[in-house]
């Protein structure tokens, strides 16, 4: 991970984003800014549009309208590959790990190193040694402990699978990392480790978006909170300036806050 300066520049600016599925308006004119070295919480009830927003930014859904700027430059993100090549990595709720592949293969999936020069690169001859070495380096740096890199993902525990998915995003997400409920299914200790990971991403200058239902996590690691309700943004506030009760009120629709 190259350290990006921890300044307040916007890494990602989304404005006017709308997305409908047939008659259902999943996102309605949503705007959100992610800044380098900041963690932004994306909050909302089930069905509020959080995952839809993440999928629009990560190239899985094509939004109906809206503008996405990366580093101030307007970009269209037609595919997950396009998102990844812009430095946007996502940890989806489903983790997107491939069970029969091992840890190294998952970390490097679609980012493989090849050997054998030009021809090897064309054929896609895998440089397994190099990927294995870099994998232990990546995991070591993030203090993720996996019993064996050659284990297939299906042999790992839920927490380990989650750690690999986050490790992958951290390894490739040089600029922007989107986390869709990364600690939802974890025990207390593992969830704490995920929070540590998020902090180390932030300290390395990465712009992080964190979807969560857990208000403690918001106050622990997040700098800003954006709240969606029924596809519309109902709050965009500094976490330090509000209480947990305020956040809950925004989520349930009792109040709205911080909107111009």
């Amino acid at each position: 991970m190259t350290a990006v300066a921890t300044d307040d520049r916007a890494a990602l600016e989304v404005s006017g984003l709308s997305k409908s599925f047939r008659a259902v308006r999943a996102l309605d004119d949503v705007a959100i800014d992610l800044r380098y070295g900041r963690v932004t919480a994306l909050l909302g009830d089930n069905g509020a549009g959080k995952s839809t927003l993440v999928k629009c930014i990560s190239g899985i859904y094509a939004p109906d309208s809206g503008v996405v700027r990366v580093n101030g430059v307007e970009r269209s993100i037609p595919s997950p590959e396009a998102a990844r090549s812009l430095g946007i990595e996502t940890v989806h709720q489903t983790l997107a790990v491939i069970d029969p592949l091992d840890v190294v293969e998952n970390l490097f999936l679609n980012r493989e190193h090849t050997r054998g020069g030009r021809l090897g690169a064309r054929l896609g001859v895998l440089d397994k040694k190099r990927m294995r070495a870099e994998s232990s380096e990546i995991l070591g740096r993030l203090d993720i402990r996996i019993p064996s890199l050659r284990r297939s993902m299906s042999a790992l525990s839920g927490g380990q699978r989650q750690a690999v998915a986050i490790g992958r995003a951290a390894a490739w997400g040089q600029q922007i990392v989107l986390l869709d409920e990364p600690a939802a299914a974890l025990g207390v200790e593992q969830a704490a480790r995920v929070l540590d990971l998020i902090r180390s991403l932030r300290d390395a200058g990465v712009a992080v978006l964190l979807i969560t239902h857990n208000m403690d996590r918001v106050t622990e690691v997040c700098d800003r909170a954006v709240v969606l309700r029924q596809g519309r943004k109902t709050a965009d506030v500094d976490v330090g300036a509000v209480t947990k009760d305020d956040l809950v009120a925004y989520i349930t629709g009792a109040r709205s806050g911080g909107l111009a």
């Binding site: 590959e81 491939i98 029969p100 592949l101 493989e112 896609g124 297939s152």
Partner: protein
């Protein structure tokens, strides 16, 4: 502890760890096919010892029978690994034998083989593109192309065999041998090795497996899943074509029904070999071993003196049993 056992212990411990890791990862399932092959071989060697099972000519015969099955199975492994299936391989094999026979007479043996492979790749591309673009399961698409290709093959030479008189073609792809090794076996080994390397050492092979294991996850990581699915189906069809070339070489003819009835045998060989029928787990080496199992079963049933009708029944029962066993383990996992 004596010094002896202390020296032996590390090796033993390593073996235990290896076994444990295998069990936790893929299970011991990938090795079942080799045990089965050895057991069936031993069984037939005992029951059929007076019926010539162990003679050199019969073993060679099994090898020759296994060759086209193994080549088709190696290709089918990639289709299944990508969670697709190719039901049109039998008729692709048949049409390819005819195309090879037709072209080899005019343009020589290289062109003959190349034309057959091109036909296969074309059929595979059609299968894949219809599957991906029209969003019809490959099961149904290839069921359709099975009929179409089979019809084209029947029209091509009015159900007549097309003789092949090019000696080079026959030597390279069928009757010939390199030293004591039949060229058919050589080709089988080459295809099997190539398939194994592609699956394990090339990016494409890992992507095929990823798409088959979890298409959404693969797509979320930016893998072009449509391209992978199309090329996997092209691989299975091209392999079927090459099997057609080998059959044509062995029999010195192209015919509308060469290899046409091998579909079920091939699927059984692949699944017995440890490949998941629904994607995400694949073994080319297992598919080749599974092909040997199927060829041995076929050969043994004939030597037992079963009539053709009874052979069909016996083979059907064996296939269902074998597939049921391997599916049961997959569900447990």
């Amino acid at each position: 502890m004596t010094e002896d056992s202390a020296a032996a212990a590390p090796g033993f411990v390593a073996a235990r760890q290896w076994l444990d890791r295998r069990r936790q990862d893929a299970g011991l399932r990938p090795y079942v096919v080799y045990v089965a092959a050895a057991l069936i071989f031993g069984l037939f060697a005992v029951i059929l010892r007076h019926d010539g099972f162990l003679t050199a000519s019969n073993l060679l015969n099994i090898g020759r029978q296994a060759a086209p099955i193994a080549v088709m199975a190696a290709g089918m492994t990639f289709a299944l690994a990508a969670a697709e299936i190719d039901l049109s391989i039998g008729s692709t094999t048949a049409l390819s034998s005819l195309v090879a026979a037709e072209v080899v007479g005019e343009y020589g043996f290289v062109a003959g083989a190349a034309a057959a492979l091109a036909v296969g790749a074309g059929i595979g591309a059609a299968n894949g593109l219809i599957t991906v673009k029209v969003r019809i399961p490959s099961f149904l698409v290839t069921l359709g192309t099975l009929g179409i290709v089979s019809g084209i093959a029947r029209n091509m030479n009015n159900l007549q065999s097309l003789p092949i008189r090019n000696d080079t073609f026959l030597a390279v792809f069928g009757a010939g041998s390199l030293g004591p090794v039949s060229s058919l076996l050589l080709w089988t080994v080459v295809v099997g090795l190539l398939g194994h390397l592609v699956l394990h050492q090339l990016r494409w092979g890992r992507h095929v497996l990823s798409v088959g294991a979890d298409r959404n996850a693969a797509a979320a990581l930016g893998i072009n899943t449509a391209r992978i699915r199309v090329t996997a189906l092209m691989t299975s069809a091209a392999a079927a074509s090459f099997a057609g070339v080998l059959l044509a070489g062995r029999l010195a003819i192209g015919r509308h029904d060469l290899g046409e009835n091998l579909l079920l045998t091939v699927i059984a060989a692949v699944v017995i070999g440890g490949t998941n029928l629904f994607g995400g787990r694949a073994s080319v080496a297992g598919a080749v071993a599974g092909s040997v199992v199927m060829a041995m079963l076929n050969n043994g049933l004939i030597l037992m003196g079963l009539r053709v009708a009874d052979q069909l029944i016996a083979r059907g029962v064996i296939i269902i049993l074998a597939v049921a066993l391997s599916m049961r383990e997959q569900k447990e996992r």
